[in-house]
């Protein structure tokens, strides 16, 4: 077997083991929460009779281990079950919500990743001069601003003062792509502002590291233009750490944007998960947790693989 294929296969199988461990952790975590799903559904209106009836109906009287394995085997067959709270199919609901989340993450990523890398390259080219300081200054201030503050500021400016966009980003089937893009403009802006600095700073730091090498000096002596040196000679050798940070941020865009979803009323996974956590809707919480874990692990495997491919020493091990 080709060493790279072997390496990738190793990583993927490790990822699967990790995912299994994550599913167990999620289940234990949910079990440890105070109260149970029947109490959470009925809330203040819980009576002894209705609690008993509901518990029986939901099968909550079975031992935890049985419920865990029942769920795991069904999930392996693609059946995530039905939500305890409203009886809707989880696979269907999660499918829609995940689609929305990926849609938002995709557009945020497609703007922020190239922008961050280009800004990083520019910052290196003019390091310690005003463009570098300006870029760092702006991106560091936007990352320091909590997401909801940035969200409210943009909302105030662009929806209340100047009615350019709508404050509510709800999207649904039947909207044209243009309408959808206009609806998500504000959350995309906020997410770009939030993830930009991390990736930009890492690009800058990684390239600056490489810039000390002898071969860069050679390139300079050859008379290449500074930007070409950075982009063609320095950047490829700095890809590994940059890819890792990019993947971390992409994962964040998928699993960590609940605050932005709430502020802009965006029907994504985060809000869906939080709603069901507060109602102890175990199957939904577990399904979401599993999907989030899969996204995280998947993106990290991808980062590893890209780092390996980008590094000749790892590509051709002795």
């Amino acid at each position: 077997m080709h060493p790279i294929l072997k390496l990738v296969a190793q990583r993927v199988s490790l990822g699967l083991v990790l995912l299994l461990a994550a599913s167990a952790l999620i289940f234990i975590g949910v079990e440890l929460l105070p109260g149970d799903v029947a109490q959470s559904i009925l809330g203040q209106s819980a009576t002894e009779t209705s609690l008993r009836n509901l518990r029986e109906e939901l099968g909550l009287n079975e031992p935890a281990l049985t419920r865990y394995f029942n769920w795991l085997f069904a999930a392996l067959q693609g059946d995530l079950g039905t939500a305890l709270t409203n009886g809707q199919s989880i696979s269907k609901a999660v499918g829609e919500r995940l689609g929305n989340t990926l849609f938002l993450a995709f557009w945020a990523a497609i703007i922020s990743v190239p922008l961050a890398i280009i800004l990083g390259l520019i910052a290196v080219r003019y390091r310690n001069r005003w463009p570098d300081k300006l870029i760092s200054g702006i991106t560091l201030s936007t990352i320091s601003l909590p997401e909801f503050v940035a969200g409210y500021l943009l909302m105030y400016l662009l929806t209340v003062q100047f009615r350019v966009f709508s404050p509510i980003s709800t999207i649904y089937a039947g909207m044209s792509l243009g309408e959808k893009l206009s609806a998500i403009a504000l959350p995309v802006m906020v997410l770009v502002l939030v993830v930009l600095a991390h990736m930009m700073r890492m690009t800058r730091a990684a390239i600056l590291n490489v810039m000390q090498s002898a071969y860069i000096e050679t390139a300079e002596l050859k008379g290449l233009r500074p930007f070409v040196i950075i982009a063609r000679h320095a950047f490829p050798n700095a890809v590994a750490p940059v890819v890792n940070v990019v993947m971390l941020n992409l994962a964040y865009l998928v699993v960590g944007v609940v605050v932005v979803e709430v502020v802009f009323v965006y029907p994504g996974m985060g809000q869906y998960l939080v709603d069901h956590v507060t109602k102890r809707d175990l199957p939904v919480v577990q399904a979401c947790g599993l999907i989030f874990a899969a996204v995280y692990i998947g993106l990290n495997i991808m980062a590893d693989v890209i780092s390996i491919l980008a590094n000749p020493r790892l590509r051709h091990p002795k």
Binding site: G43, Q44, N53, N86, A93, V160, P167, Y172, Q271
Partner: protein, 528 residues
């Protein structure tokens, strides 16, 4: 008519100015009161409902876990959603009168034990079927089933037998209840085809709008039910409820014109939003109240002197001013206020009195150890701050309160109705009997103060059978006195519903029954 007067007239007709303020201004501008009154009547009549268009409401209180099954409705969005597509036998109007919906006539036997509801002719479900007495019977059966999780179980449990004959639905109660027609207007008791036994969450009812979109926690879309029987409501062609749980986003959506009405305006932004162009902010006194509850059976609260000390140690007006931003009224340690029919307004108001509180505290012989008050930010908006203010005023009376902050998560299962002293809230009920029966009858499941008083219980049961309103009022007054002086309830304040409404909306009327005109603002208002 000069411009100022015309402007005022317009604003008064819209409800932005009070009638009295208008008459005062008109007088100042040299117009006789009679003439001004005539003018006003004309302007109000010109408010003929306009048909068509789309009304959007932005609401807090919806989750992706919501269902259309009316039996399970508990929070604000499902409530308003169900009021859009469903209808009960009866309803309560803004003045507290019975509003007959699917029932056309209500009559009872003289002892108020047997009640007859005549079903309105020609009312149609969204699936095309006609509403029959059998559907009504099936609905009540579903809700009274021991296995149901219906929030109305407590109401229908007292039914001994029911039957449907022709267009007549007859209920026989175990014990008399003069309020039964009101109880049939409980928002869970929406009439569904075959009682919803086939598919309780189908969203098929006989209400003014049909469900078109149902995305729980995101949005609910409706279009007019063409064969709806009552053309006094349901003016817009379409209506939509958007779930906007974030307070700031909700206000922004209203300001940007994306929604016409929002609920739960934060008292902190009330003053600012009022000044915003094109928006009216309504504060409606309701029956909901924020409370601190003591278990009358648990030490040290089993001592009435200590309970009295704690009741006297709270500064009600300060809580109304600081926690509600002045948008509410002080409570009097019983759960009833002037928004209820048969309210006795001569009951003396309990005031903050540190000296009396200290006197009762000493008399109770409490050992001086801190009294633990449990609270959570989700107990009611501002519950943590309210507890802190309470702690201060109590310590001025020499009563040591220790605040224990609990997580919102699990508060209603692990703290409320479990711990002996905690913060909570009640949403109020249409009539006094229902409020008292739900939470203060010694046998009630939600008797969250563990209050038990024979006199109180017997008065409550007797009042149900009393059809003479004057006698009934006297009974309720006596019960209020008992609860106020001996109960475990500390009721510092009744909160207003604070709502933002666009000026493009006409037909708004304050309704003490519930927020957003009792969940029907989008059904009863129209686009001006």
């Amino acid at each position: 008519m000069n411009d100022e007067l015309r402007y005022l007239l317009h604003r008064t007709a819209q409800g932005k100015h009070s009638r009295r303020a208008f008459l005062g201004r008109a007088g100042a501008l040299g117009m006789s009161a009679a003439m001004a009154n005539t003018l006003l009547a004309g302007a109000a009549q010109a408010q003929e409902p306009k048909k068509g268009g789309m009304i959007r409401m932005g609401m807090q209180g919806g989750e992706s876990t919501n269902t259309l099954d009316p039996a399970l409705a508990a929070s604000e969005v499902p409530f308003a959603v169900n009021m859009t597509w469903g209808e009960m036998l009866t309803d309560v109007d803004a003045d507290g009168n019975l509003d007959l919906r699917i029932a056309e006539e209500v009559s009872s036997s003289p002892d108020a034990k047997t009640w007859m509801f005549k079903i309105r002719k020609g009312v149609e479900f969204h699936n095309g079927k006609t509403v029959t007495a059998e559907d009504v019977l099936a609905t009540m059966q579903r809700h009274s089933d021991e296995n149901s999780q219906s929030g109305a179980l407590g109401i229908v449990q007292g039914i001994e037998s029911m039957k449907a004959e022709g267009d007549m639905f007859t209920v026989t109660l175990e014990s008399p209840n003069a309020d039964l027609p009101y109880l049939m207007g409980d928002y869970h008791l929406i009439i569904q085809p075959n009682g919803g036994k086939d598919d309780p969450a189908a969203g098929i009812g006989a209400g003014p709008y049909k469900v078109v979109v149902n995305e729980p926690g995101v949005r609910h879309g409706f279009e007019k039910h063409a064969n709806y029987w009552d053309d006094r409501i349901g003016h817009a062609d379409q209506t939509e409820i958007l779930v906007i749980n974030d307070t700031t986003a909700r206000v922004a959506a209203l300001q940007a014109g994306q929604v016409h009405m929002i609920n739960r305006v934060d008292p902190k932004v009330y003053g600012l939003l009022k000044k915003a162009p094109g928006i009216l902010v309504h504060a409606t006194p309701g029956r909901g109240h924020y409370v601190f509850i003591m278990h009358c059976t648990a030490a040290p609260f089993d001592n009435n002197d200590l309970r009295m000390a704690l009741k006297l140690a709270i500064n009600r007006q300060e809580l109304v001013d600081k926690v509600l931003g002045g948008l509410g009224s002080v409570g009097n340690d019983f759960p009833i206020n002037s928004a209820y029919p048969l309210f006795d307004d001569t009951i003396p108001q309990r005031e903050y009195d540190p000296e009396q509180a200290a006197f009762y505290y000493k008399k109770s012989g409490h050992d001086g150890s801190p009294i633990i008050l449990r609270t959570a930010s989700g107990a009611f908006p501002g519950a943590v701050e309210a507890a802190q203010l309470y702690q201060q005023t109590a310590s001025a009376a020499g009563i040591p309160l220790e605040i224990k902050r609990e997580p919102d998560d699990g508060y209603w299962s692990d703290v409320w109705n479990v711990q002996p002293f905690c913060a909570s809230y009640w949403g109020g009920r249409p009539v006094q009997d229902q409020m008292y029966s739900t939470a203060y009858l010694s046998t009630a499941e939600w008797n969250d103060t563990k209050f038990s008083n024979e006199k109180f219980d017997s008065l409550l049961i007797a009042a149900r059978a009393e059809l003479d309103n004057a006698k009934r009022k006297a009974m309720y007054s006596e019960m209020a006195h008992i609860l106020r002086d001996e109960g475990g309830l500390i009721c510092p304040m009744f909160n207003d519903f604070v709502e933002g409404v666009s000026e493009t909306i006409a037909g708004w009327r304050s309704d003490p029954n519930g927020e957003l005109m009792n969940g029907r603002a989008h059904v009863k208002c129209w686009l001006a």
